[in-house]
Amino acid sequence: MGKKVAVVGFGQTKGRSARKDVNGVELINEAVVAALADAELTIKDIDAVVIGNMDHFEGVNYVDSWSVEGSGGVMKPIFKVTTGGTTGTTVAMSAYYHVASGMFDKVLAIGWEKNSESDTTGAIITAFDPVWERPNLGGAIAGLALEASKYMSTYGITERDGARVAVRERLHALNNPFAHLHQEWMKGIPVDQLVELLVTSKENVMLAYPLRMSDMCPRTDAAAAAIFASEDVAEKMAAVPAWVASTTNRHNFALAGDVDMDRNTTMASAAKRAFEKAGIKEPLKEIGVCELYLPYSYAGLKWMEDYGFCAYGEGPKLVWDKVTDMDGELPVNPSGGVMSSNPIGATGLIRVGEAALQIMRKAGTRQVQKDVNFAFITGFGGCYWADVMVLGKKKPS
């Protein structure tokens, strides 16, 4: 085993549809400055940088070098990581591996995206096979709709069940000053009524059955940065370091046609392994908070079953029973999640940072009340690949 590693600082920019006042490098800098301030460090303290985004969104393919003035990576070891939707979580995993190896003590992890600078759907299609699936796939929305459709048919899930997840994410986002979507109109309206509005409103356009506008994530401009430190220094840098208890990832197929649309097998396998490594036997009881990459509403039902939080087909019950609300047994996405902000290359790292803030009890207005011993984080990418990480309050033994 390598060195124990903890997250000791986190910074992020506010999510926006278009940050026209800054270029990508300047956006990155805002997050880096915030993360350094959070850990009370200067750039001189940083031994190496890991940075990631999805190249096609900005059309810049040498981001590691291009961004040095913003990232603070001048004359430091820099690693660029690009894994589509999971980029932010893979950046975190890579920063973790850097430190765990014993070769670096303090590593700066950066994820960012300016989705406003290109055609998001067009760029996402480049994460599908050029010969077999690009000619006949409509980007992320249609792919996810195929999954939702199959899941609904197999388990008798309704559109109201999906909308209930959307309502949770958007209500949670109202507590998060960094979230992109702040749907103030939802304030004070009972959950049942909000669900009814979402599934009946004509304004809530059907994009690809059963997915309406409200079932999807937005496209966001934002950056995030987290500092990973070794056990030799972490406790000096943070009052409560958020220790990496376990992390792993899984890939299975390259073609969407091969994916098992009934179950998310990569998420299930990665979660099982991560819980084992962290010593978690009863995920629902032992995990205090989740920051999950749920790109659309039905993922908040089906994938919860795959993580082992409930039996197959019982995702809706878990959500309707308020288990995943802020004051529930297992609060999911106090930040508002991906459905409230999706700056793709930063999205996964925001999950890691938000989970770390919950453990450190620095999450401000979105802090969960209960004590958090473990936080569970996921990243999701294109053709159903999965990253997961577990952070813990206790230093791993």
Partner: protein
């Protein structure tokens, strides 16, 4: 100070050439010249791949036997798309489906047509409709239509 946010319009258009490989080419040639759907099989787990694979990812061995399959299958899942996208230039709404070709282990992502969206059901039987002009691409199957009767 109030500053106008200037932007620069990119003009990048890169004409890529993606080689399919001999395994995939064999499949596309059969589609183009004979309107036939072929799959190939993993000698260990016996999975049948459509489109074909040169290796079975799970067993990590080269695939073996080629099998001529039917041009019929079952709708595993579908969606009705109401938004424009630049790649699939078809009149909206577009029906996308996962079609499990009879005899294949996985599904093929493709269009469903000649049917009203509200009539499409998971489990429906469909048959390939081949394009009039075929150029050796996956779109040599124009779409899948419900099996009559």
């Amino acid at each position: 100070m109030d500053v106008q946010n200037i932007y620069y319009d990119g003009r990048i258009k890169i004409p890529y050439t993606w080689y399919v490989g001999e395994t995939g080419s064999r499949f596309l040639i059969a589609l183009r010249d004979n309107k036939e759907i072929w799959g190939n099989q993993c000698p260990q787990c016996k999975k049948v791949f459509v489109p074909p694979m040169k290796t079975c990812g799970e067993c990590f061995v080269p695939t073996g036997e080629w099998l001529k399959l039917a041009d019929t299958g079952t709708v595993e899942s579908f969606t009705v798309v109401h938004y424009e996208n630049g790649v699939a230039k078809r009149p909206l709404p577009v029906i996308y489906g996962l079609i499990k070709i009879d005899g294949a282990s996985g599904s093929l992502l493709h269009f469903i047509g000649d049917v009203k969206p509200e009539k499409v059901k998971i489990g429906m039987r469909v048959k390939a409709v081949f394009a009039e002009k075929r150029g050796g691409t996956i779109l040599d199957i124009s779409h899948f239509a419900p099996v009559k009767g």
